[in-house]
Symmetry: C2
């Protein structure tokens, strides 16, 4: 499955790099299936992913941020956000990714996961039970050490107030604007946690954003929790939205509750 996911991600990357300097990439072109605004860049990325998938001999259902659910009667579903970090891309901040996961039933049923940094070409990959990798080298989460901590925290007017309390617990707080990549940096032991809690659930994360990064993080030794401190899961449903705490060191679970 890795080669197939890489082929899809590479095709999307190529399409996005082709329009990165275009003035019309940020044109609003309607709404995605969940009602969030779609931009021309999102549509181009989604089309590139569809075309790449069609050219492969894979029978998969498709759950995408941008297109209606495609039911091919397959056992497994490709869960895809072709451009995670749309606002970064559109505005010109070089930090966004393609997120791809394959599995069944729910977020915790994902078996294969890839997140590609479109700017650098770095590839995070995991298979359930077989570990997580960055550019084919194994990656592991790190143990939390307050002195050298780095927290990735979603902020802004839609963040819950306690997000700011969490950001104040580290001397190195970052907010990078791409949940899938930020969770991969936790998996890589670069950061200790990613926290995204919204005051209005309509802005919270969807399964397409984090299906891949959740598997990558768990395979690297980390965990994802919901806002009651339980193990995080989501339905295979684009309308489901949730806040989360993703950690490298499970001792940080206490921050979720």
């Amino acid at each position: 499955m890795k080669d197939e996911l890489f082929a899809i991600a590479s095709r999307v990357r190529e399409a996005l790099r082709g329009i990165a300097d275009s003035d019309t990439a940020g044109d609003a072109v309607g709404k995605g299936v969940d009602g969030a605004p779609s931009y021309r860049a999102d549509m181009i990325a989604d089309r590139a992913a569809s075309e790449a998938l069609d050219s492969l001999s894979l029978k998969l259902n498709v759950l995408s941020e941008e297109s209606p659910y495609v039911d091919r009667g397959a056992e497994q579903t490709l869960v895809i956000d072709p451009l995670d970090g749309s606002h970064n891309f559109i505005q010109g901040i070089p930090f966004y990714a393609v997120s791809l996961a394959v599995g069944s039933k729910s977020l915790s049923g994902m078996m294969y996961a890839m997140v590609m940094n479109v700017v650098t070409g770095d590839v995070f990959y995991a298979e359930k039970g077989r570990g997580a990798f960055l550019n084919d080298k194994p990656i592991r989460v790190r143990k939390y050490d307050e002195k050298s901590s780095m927290f990735l925290v979603y902020m802004g007017s839609n963040a819950s107030l306690n997000s700011y309390d969490i950001a104040r617990k580290t001397s190195r707080a970052r907010s990078l604007g791409s949940a899938s990549l930020e969770m991969c940096y936790v998996a890589h032991g670069v950061a200790d946690l990613f926290y995204m809690r919204c005051s209005d659930n309509n802005y919270a994360l969807r399964i397409v954003d984090i299906a891949a990064s959740s598997l990558i993080l768990r395979e690297a030794g980390g965990e994802v929790y919901d806002m009651t401190g339980n193990i995080f899961d989501m339905k295979l449903d684009i309308s489901d939205r949730k806040s989360l705490l993703a950690v490298g060191d499970k001792n940080l679970r206490r921050l979720a509750i």
Copy 2:
């Protein structure tokens, strides 16, 4: 001067890319001249800059983050941070820059400025009175519009509490960890402001971090303010530290006071 600054920045970029995957880039190797910790990566970047400067026929004094002041009796001083965003570099977050400015007397006396994104190779450049450029194309700040706003805000345990109030005024808050690049994104009209206010002034910005980006932002139509709302300036002195508000639209000055 542009070609010379480009030669220096390119040499630093090459040196940094050579050690980006090295396990020892983050080794602490002492303290910079201002007492802040220095890492192996900072030293390698600084040495590359020195060597590049020595190979050019430029007579400049040098004020660097990492080395003692070099007084060549020249009229102008090269003000350099060879690696702005050290923690990003060391930890593996692909967002850091080389910052170079040339001028005399103080931050406001800078005449030439270059900030190079080491990851992408993008080059921001300005000359006093001649405008600001990204990869040779003119750039301008944008007018503030609340609906599509993006604020870049320094956060974490060393940020002043009101930093969080500012981050809550936008639906798109980012904290990227490289002041020079973040100010260039304001100059480019990507973001509306960069705010860095420290609760302890020992963590605030030095002239080496922002001499270049301040000129680039001003040449793009923006402004930099201190925490009383006055026009920002700094001495040519590595021990001077200050908080700032950098804006594209001068109507945002009110946020400084």
